[in-house]
């Protein structure tokens, strides 16, 4: 027996069996105990509850939702809310981060100082504190009667009201898609090697694609327009309440602002790091070819910096996507809050936690997949720039 334990192969097998076995045993024991405890409270395990109606409301949904809807529909709403808040937050954070990051790499000392102050302040304060802060600010805004107004935008404690086109939901969604296509399509056409025309023609094709997409957007807006109403609906006070326009609830606005500002400070550092990684040699070579500073920036520094940034940016985006779970702090019904409410109301603890894990795994994996695609598409071919 002792000599057997001295054998390396026996040892290795034993160790592996012990390790994997004990972890599996722990997990299994946990599940068994949990099922017994839940059964004592009269909760039967299984996924049948997904088809029961919830009996409670969500305060934010892009899809129609009532308390009669089943749990699976609520989970879907939660995921869509998370993705929607996440993408709005990411977009805003990227804009903020790019501006601040560029300021930090600028040759102007004042701009650098300004950028650095921004990053130092907002990076070093926890996100949840910033969420609480902005939520307090927004909920302490005046009531609709005394709303701050500017260019048709209204700031009130009930939320932010913005002008909104008077069109059907479907038409608006179609128009949004078309606008996104107008931005993405030319870039994609420029990247793809399928276009081997000379540069002038390629520009023309890109331009046509963008224009076509925009025309589609205009058409869908025109078709989906509600009759007898002006195209743009401005919010206005009627009685004690505001009518018209689009209301952005305080919860959503809070989270979007907080994510934009906090995420922006991180993205600014990524942007700065990306530009820092561009070799001096490349820039000097471009300048010595007689390119103007602007063209050096757009043709050499930006593309190279972008490639250096992308993998880190991907991680940051995944992090920010997970940060939407702060929604529970202010009562925004994101995916996690829906899961927490489900556990509270139905008691289906294990199933709900399982769904939560699966949901975030799916979100993470798909984000990672998208970024890998982009990364591969723009990666420098070969290794000519290493070293």
């Amino acid at each position: 027996m002792v000599s057997l334990l001295r054998n390396q192969k026996v040892r290795n097998t034993l160790l592996q069996v012990l390790y994997v076995g004990s972890i599996a045993a722990l997990v299994l024991a946990g599940i068994v105990i949990a099922r017994r405890n839940l059964a004592e409270q009269g909760i039967t395990s299984g996924f049948n509850f997904l088809f029961k109606s919830t009996g409670w409301d969500v305060n934010f949904s892009l899809l129609p939702a009532t308390a009669n809807d089943p749990y699976w529909w609520y989970f879907l709403i939660g995921i869509i809310n998370t993705l929607f808040l996440g993408s709005v937050g990411l977009m805003l954070a990227t804009i903020v981060g790019t501006i601040v990051g560029l300021a930090r790499t600028s040759s102007n000392d004042l701009a650098r100082l300004l950028g650095r102050t921004y990053v130092d302040i907002f990076r070093n304060i926890p996100l949840i504190l910033q969420v609480f802060f902005w939520y307090a600010i927004i909920t302490h805004l005046p009531t609709p009667r005394g709303a701050h107004e500017a260019w048709g935008f209204l700031l009130t404690s009930r939320g932010l009201y913005i002008p909104f086109p008077n069109v059907s939901n479907a038409a608006f969604a179609a128009a949004t898609l078309a606008v996104v296509a107008a931005i993405v399509l030319p870039t994609w056409l420029g990247r793809t090697s399928r276009l081997s025309q000379p540069i002038g023609q390629r520009r023309a094709i890109q331009f046509t694609a963008a224009a076509a997409a925009l025309v589609c957007a205009a058409i869908s807006l025109a078709v989906g327009r509600l009759p007898d109403l002006p195209l743009l609906d401005f919010p206005a006070l009627q009685g004690l309440n505001l009518r018209g326009g689009l209301r952005i609830p305080p919860e959503f606005a809070t989270l979007a602002i907080a994510i934009a500002i906090y995420g922006g400070s991180y993205i600014a550092e990524i942007v700065r790091g990306g530009f820092k990684s561009v070799g001096k040699g490349q820039v000097e070579a471009a300048l010595s070819l007689g390119l103007s500073p602007w063209r050096v920036f757009t043709l050499v520094r930006l593309p190279l910096a972008l490639r250096a940034m992308l993998p880190i940016l991907a991680n940051q985006y995944v992090w920010l996507m997970k940060a939407t779970t702060m929604g529970i702090a202010v009562g925004f019904t994101d995916f996690f809050m829906i899961v927490a409410l489900t556990i509270n109301h139905s008691g289906q603890t294990l199933e709900a936690i399982g769904i939560l894990m699966a949901g975030f795994l799916a979100i993470n994996l798909s984000l990672a997949a998208v970024f890998n695609r982009i990364n591969k598409a723009i990666a420098l071919k070969g290794n000519q720039l290493r070293g």
Binding site: I33, N108, L114, I128, F132, F133, A323, I328, F336, L365
Partner: protein
């Protein structure tokens, strides 16, 4: 012809300014815009926070609310609840002392003399024990104060310190298991690490606080505080494990081979050769992770702990100080800022120093 070499005249102060900020029209516009923004913000901020602010409690909340600037009286009136939460009033010196212990501990860990496994473990072990005794009492003539009465900054620091104390060794174990040559061990560990990393911290805290009691036998459940600390430590260790593993990958394979050839056993190789070098490689990223997890301790408010943010909410949320939320948040933000900023500056300094010594 006689050559006279004349050094170009040193640029005057005005000339220097012109070159730095007004070299081109675009630069001039940019400089002016930045200057305007900065002056405007600085003035607004100073005016609010200093010139028009009220600092004393003498006028009471009403006088304070009427002022145009910040009402710092709320801090003067409520600082005890922000720092100590619901800790018994006459025992609050213990809570304060405990916070000082943590600060001292952190400062000591930043001094290279303490960067050996044994010393750092000693500092943290002793520091945490001292903290615990001070807070909990029940010995040495100190009155017993249960965990449910802990709060404010002291609770935040306690959660952070214990998270690191549990999470750090766990991270090293996970990193070692993940780089194991035995495929099933490394695969299972990889699955655990990646699984934890893909989840948001809030969901893990929630699971440990609310769901775990169902899955544990009665005698193992323990206090909610310690379950949450365990969850937070698990999350910390999943991230830190990858940092440690990165550090290990930076140690050349020849190091372990040399140790093997000298007859060292697995734990001798790990403890004497691999870890000291790996931790050195991983130091800047580790400090960064500490900074992040300090900020993330604030999330325990969501599972219902009375840490500094929650006690801040309580400080303005009840009674006559309802209007003073900005001041309270600004104060808490400032506390976080002091901790986080100094730590991250230190990390940046270390990184610079290490990159110089590598050259």
């Amino acid at each position: 012809m006689e050559m006279v070499v004349v050094a170009p005249p040193a640029p005057g102060r005005l000339e220097d300014l012109r070159r730095r900020f007004f070299a081109t029209p675009l630069q001039a516009v940019l400089s002016l815009a930045c200057l305007t923004i900065m002056v405007f913000l600085a003035w607004k901020l100073l005016n609010w926070a200093v010139f028009s602010a009220v600092f004393t409690t003498s006028g009471g909340p009403e006088a304070c609310q009427a002022a145009a600037g910040a009402c710092w009286s709320v801090i003067a009136a409520r600082w005890r609840i922000i720092f100590f939460g619901l800790y018994p009033y006459e025992e609050q010196w213990r809570s304060a002392l405990a916070c000082v212990v943590v600060v001292v501990m952190t400062v000591l860990s930043c001094i290279p003399v303490f960067w050996t496994g044994r010393r750092i473990a000693l500092v943290w072990g002793a520091g945490t024990a001292l903290f615990y005794v001070l807070m909990k009492g029940g010995v040495l003539g100190l009155a017993h104060v249960g965990e449910e009465a802990w709060g404010g900054l002291a609770l935040t620091l306690f959660i952070f310190v214990t998270t690191c104390l549990v999470g750090f060794p766990l991270a090293i174990c996970l990193a070692l298991l993940r780089r194991s040559e035995l495929p099933w061990i490394s695969r299972t560990t990889g699955l655990i690490i990646d699984g934890v990393r893909s989840l948001p911290l809030i969901s893990i805290l929630f699971t440990f606080a609310v769901v775990l009691p169902f899955a544990l036998p009665q005698w193992l459940q323990g206090d909610k505080l310690y379950r949450v600390i365990l969850g937070s430590a698990l999350f910390f260790s999943a991230y830190q494990a990858e940092i440690v593993r990165g550090g290990m990958q930076g140690v050349p394979t020849g190091q372990e081979e040399a140790a093997m050839a000298l007859g060292m056993r697995y734990w001798q190789r790990i403890g004497r050769i691999l870890l000291p070098q790996a931790m050195r490689n991983a130091l800047p990223a580790t400090i960064n992770q500490f900074v992040i997890s300090f900020k993330e301790t604030s999330l325990v408010i969501i599972v219902g702990f009375f840490e500094i943010l929650a006690s801040g909410n309580a400080a303005y949320g009840t009674g006559e100080w309802r209007f003073a939320y900005v001041e309270v948040y600004a104060f808490i933000a400032f506390i976080y800022f002091v901790f986080v900023f100094s730590l991250s500056r230190y990390g940046a300094f270390l990184e610079r120093r290490m990159s110089i010594s590598e050259r």
